[in-house]
């Protein structure tokens, strides 16, 4: 049996990140602010072909897009 998150195309890490976000948001105000700082990720990335980089993209949105694609297929 495949889990629902797997069927939705999420990777295990993404599943964990979503779960962690839910827990962080349910914390009390003061603790939540500290905890949510641990969830920020401002990474950008580029894929390389034959020694040339492509355009840099935002990592978080690219990951979300890739997972949405794998969900529909």
């Amino acid at each position: 049996m495949t889990a629902a998150w797997k069927a939705a195309g999420l990777t295990y890490n993404r599943y964990l990140a979503v779960a962690a976000r839910a827990i962080r948001r349910s914390l009390k105000e003061d603790k939540r602010i500290v905890a949510e700082r641990r969830a920020v990720s401002e990474l950008r990335f580029a894929t390389w072909k034959n020694g040339k980089p492509s355009e840099t993209k935002d990592l978080a949105s690219a990951n979300a897009a890739a997972m949405a694609e794998s969900a529909s297929s």
């Binding site: 890490n13 390389w48 990592l59 890739a66």
Partner: protein, 303 residues
């Protein structure tokens, strides 16, 4: 770096007397060098202030970075414990294709820790020219390896090193690596191992592929479904990445602190030297002026 920057001024100072002799009125020339030394002195003072501030900033960041490094090390070790007891080893295959993840950062001014990583990769490349692909985290190593190993690079990440790396960063990177089209027999993470405050060593962490985990001889000790092995692999990759990123970050801060300390020390030495030179030149100018006045006075008396 600083000494090289200062060289033109030294040369100018050395060249000044000869220029003065050629130009005629010596007072004008000495005034010019005096002014020159003064501006030079001022700029070195500014540099010292900047490096000193950077040192202080790096020191405060270092304490936080070491704390997160110690925490993350626990994560990494705990997740590796599973593989140790399962006796997992890298899968043996005919055509090995490994993936090397290099954990550097975006920022420089921290001595040679980034070039240490690049050098390790180049040495590896010299030993086995094909057979591995690169994923590079951080602009610095990207710039260095782009020239020599541009063809091997598959992915590069930017935006690390501003703050302490978060687990969210590591997860996002791990996800993107999992999405790579090529199947790799093993994944290695190259990072700077923190030995003590002054020495670091480029080290590899092994992250295993799904087959390698499935083939590990002692896996039956754990009662798991085959499906969850893929999850384990992704999660352990994120864990190891987090460990490597945090430890690399701590190394970087500590290296930056040392580099800035040395730079401040050098600047201090130069300030001392220039201060002496400045005072001497000033005295020489005053003496020269006095001599001129006295000579003039004596000459007018005798008339």
């Amino acid at each position: 770096m600083l000494s090289r920057a200062a060289r033109p001024a030294l040369r100018a100072a050395a060249a000044a007397p000869s220029r003065a002799a050629a130009a005629g009125p010596s007072t004008a020339a000495t005034y010019a060098t005096l002014r020159e030394i003064e501006t030079r002195l001022k700029s070195i003072r500014n540099i010292e202030k900047i490096t000193n501030t950077m040192k202080v900033v790096a020191s405060t960041k270092l304490t936080r970075a070491t704390r997160s490094m110690n925490d993350s090390r626990k994560y990494g070790e705990a997740s590796n414990e599973v593989f140790k007891s399962a006796e997992t080893a890298a899968a043996e295959a005919e055509d090995k294709k490994s993936l090397v993840i290099v954990c550097s950062s975006d920022k420089g001014l921290c001595g040679g820790i980034h070039s240490g990583l690049s050098r390790t990769i180049r040495r590896m490349y010299a030993e086995q020219p094909s057979g591995f692909d690169l994923v590079i985290i951080g602009e610095k190593c990207k710039a260095q390896l782009q020239r020599t190993n541009g063809k091997e690079i598959q992915l590069s990440f930017a935006g690390v090193g501003k703050d302490i790396p978060t687990f969210a960063d590591a997860q996002a990177i791990a996800d993107q690596i999992v999405l790579l089209p090529t199947e790799y027999t093993d994944v290695k993470i190259l990072y700077n191992k923190f030995i003590n405050a002054t020495s670091y060593e480029p080290t590899f962490i092994e992250a295993f592929s799904e087959e390698a985990i499935a083939q590990s001889p002692n896996l039956s000790a754990f009662e798991v479904e085959d499906e969850s092995l893929g999850n384990l692999r992704e999660y352990s990759l994120a864990n190891s990445l987090y460990w490597a990123l945090a430890e690399g970050h701590a190394c970087e801060q500590s290296a930056r602190r040392n580099a800035m300390e040395n730079a401040s020390k050098n600047a201090g030495e130069m300030i001392g030297k220039y201060q002496i030179l400045y005072n001497r030149t000033r005295q020489a100018v005053i003496t020269g002026e006095l001599v001129e006045i006295i000579t003039g006075a004596i000459a007018s008396e005798e008339m």
